[in-house]
């Protein structure tokens, strides 16, 4: 089933980590195999923030194979040596969990493709996100558990999207969890509710164009599809509109960039979405109770129609 939620504050910042946690926790009955956050925090916008994992969560319910924790340290060392090799200077480093790392790096090249390929050439290492304001945090468990584990409730920013996952198409692990980074674009992330039926055809075509897939989760295709369209010169909104015919299946998905948030709904309107729009806030989720967690007062909401694409700016 899965649940998705997103919000964007226009013209101001707020505690988006706390707000999104409330929204996703309200949707936990739609799936709590894993929960993911894509938070667009207030930063100076100077350095890149890179969230990576050097291993999987092998706790209860995980479908991953347990590894000796010592390999995490070895992978971390290689990551840091590669960063130095590519001229990326580590300004700050955090290790919330043995397998989860956050680096703030000075890196002056704009094209992140080569950079990402180099880092991900290390077996077991995946970049969860790379951007100047985006941070993707995803792990097993419900929204509250992941929020507490990574101290997300204090994150202040302008917008955020998140996902509560019931694993159906692929394993219960971090690599299959949403949100997906729009590799190799800085600050692009995607969450999706639904199933894509032309996944393999699209995946093969995109791989032939040099795009990378880290999981076998069909939702990852949306991130890669949009990223490829943007790489070819399309705007975010154009890429999303093209996806309505390019992607087959049932879906509602959100895409976020550094300064915008968008939603798209398939032409059969098979997946739910409730939307609240005001001058200073847009909030949306698979169910109205997600929005009610941050706006308990009476509000006007609506369901976007089939084949609808909307994009909002901060």
């Amino acid at each position: 089933m899965c649940g998705i939620a997103g919000l964007i504050h226009r013209g101001k910042s707020s505690k988006v980590g706390f707000e999104l946690q409330g929204m996703l926790q309200a949707l936990k009955h739609r799936g709590e195999d894993s929960t993911g956050y894509a938070l667009y925090g207030d930063t100076e916008g100077k350095n890149f923030i890179m969230r990576i994992k050097v291993g999987e969560n092998v706790g209860e319910g995980s479908s991953s194979v347990a590894e000796d924790v010592s390999v995490y340290d070895e992978r971390k060392k290689i990551v840091e040596s590669y960063l130095a090799e590519m001229g990326a200077k580590i300004v700050k480093e955090e290790r919330t969990l043995p397998y989860s790392l956050r680096y703030e790096v000075e890196y002056d090249k704009k094209d992140l493709l080569e950079f990402s390929q180099k880092i991900e050439s290390i077996p077991g290492v995946e970049i969860l996100s790379m951007g100047k304001s985006l941070e993707v945090i995803k792990d097993l468990g419900n929204a509250k558990m992941v929020c507490d584990r990574y101290n997300l409730d204090k994150v202040v920013g302008t917008h955020a999207i998140g996902h509560a996952r019931m694993a159906t198409e692929s394993g219960v692990d971090i690599k299959s969890a949403h949100p997906f980074w729009g590799y190799p674009f800085s600050d692009v992330s995607v969450v999706h509710n639904g199933q894509l039926t032309n996944y393999w055809n699209n995946r093969r075509a995109l791989e032939n164009k040099g795009m990378r897939f880290m999981s076998e989760c069909d939702s990852e295709l949306i991130a890669v599809y949009i990223a490829q369209r943007m790489r070819e010169g399309a705007t975010l909104e154009e890429g999303m509109k093209e996806s309505l015919s390019g992607l087959d299946g049932v879906f509602t998905y959100f895409v976020a960039t550094k300064d915008s948030l968008g939603m798209a709904k398939d032409t059969m309107a098979a997946k739910p979405l409730v939307l609240y729009e005001s001058d200073d806030l847009v909030a949306m989720g698979s169910e109205e109770i997600a929005i009610r967690s941050i706006l308990p007062q009476e509000i006007d909401t609506y369901d976007p129609f089939d084949g609808e694409v909307k994009v909002w700016q901060i």
Binding site: M268, A269, R292, E298, D300, Y302, F305
Partner: protein, 284 residues
């Protein structure tokens, strides 16, 4: 018991496009006979007084607790219940098989007012997916918008949304009337079998797809017709009924019904029993 094979004695409703099928074979239909009313009894129904009114704040209740509380209030004779702070909760007001005046001061989540028979409900907010699913009788009025599958499989009663509704409105409906003041999404009237849908605004793609019977009236633009949905002539009797219905529904009273489009089933798909496999293909 009505004799549906006797097509010469068509009722006014039949002339308007309802109940035009000649039922044969395994298909059966029974109508309520007033002479047998004393034999009809719903377990768990109560005598309520509409002048006995109370408020119920469900802010800190689960849907099950709230529904049990409503049942409890009906058993005490309350005929008018005002629900405060529904806050988008799912499955509120389901399974009410009673005369009751129920008012929600706020919005409902999914499956609100499902499987009801008899209550008059006003929702001063929005409703989520599958509102009033399986409604048997009564009236449900939504002041704002509604989600998808609005009035799925209803068998009777009036379901009114003053705003816009999502996709698959009236899917599989078997009777009753759905009235939409705004626009409706894709697949409206999908596989409907009887009943009527009125949409004053625009409607999305695949209108009336695979409908078996029933009638859809559209005031605005139609995205596209679904398989086996065809135009029909809007008769004087249709217009009279539309005017009356919109007036009673307190919606679109000044709407020019003479310009509405009437859509019915082409009936090339529905009677599979009488078609050979090759003919079925041709119909599709």
């Amino acid at each position: 018991m009505a004799n549906l094979k006797n097509t010469e004695k068509k009722t006014k409703a039949q002339a308007m496009g309802m109940h035009t099928e000649v039922l044969t074979g395994r298909t059966q239909q029974k109508f309520f006979n007033p002479d047998e009313a004393e034999n009809f009894y719903y377990f768990g129904t109560y005598d309520v007084d509409f002048n006995k009114r109370t408020d119920l704040d469900v802010k800190d209740m689960t849907a099950a607790e709230a529904n049990k509380k409503i049942d409890g209030l009906m058993s005490e004779g309350y005929g008018t219940i005002v629900i405060k702070n529904p806050q988008g909760k799912h499955s509120l007001g389901v399974g009410i098989l009673n005369k009751l005046n129920l008012i929600f001061e706020g919005s409902l989540g999914y499956f609100g007012m499902g499987s009801c028979d008899g209550p008059t409900v006003r929702i001063n907010g929005r409703v989520g997916w599958s509102c009033a699913e399986n409604l048997m009788a009564g009236k449900v009025v939504i002041e704002k918008n509604a989600g998808s599958c609005f009035g799925a499989a209803i068998r009777g009663g009036d379901l009114i949304c003053k705003g816009s509704v999502g996709a698959r409105t009236g899917i599989d409906m078997k009777g009753g009337t759905i009235i939409i003041g705004g626009d409706a999404g894709a697949f409206t009237g999908f596989m409907m079998q009887r009943g009527r849908i009125i949409i004053l605004g625009d409607v999305g793609i695949n209108l009336g797809d695979s409908m078996y019977d029933g009638t859809i009236f559209v005031g605005g633009e139609i995205g596209s017709y679904g398989s086996d949905a065809v135009d029909a002539e809007l008769t004087k009797s249709d217009q009279d009924w539309l005017k009356r219905k919109l007036k009673v529904a307190e919606i679109g009273e000044n709407f020019d019904v003479s310009k509405m489009k009437k859509i019915v089933a082409g009936k090339k798909l529905w009677n599979y029993d009488n078609l050979e496999p090759t003919e079925k293909k041709g119909a599709i």
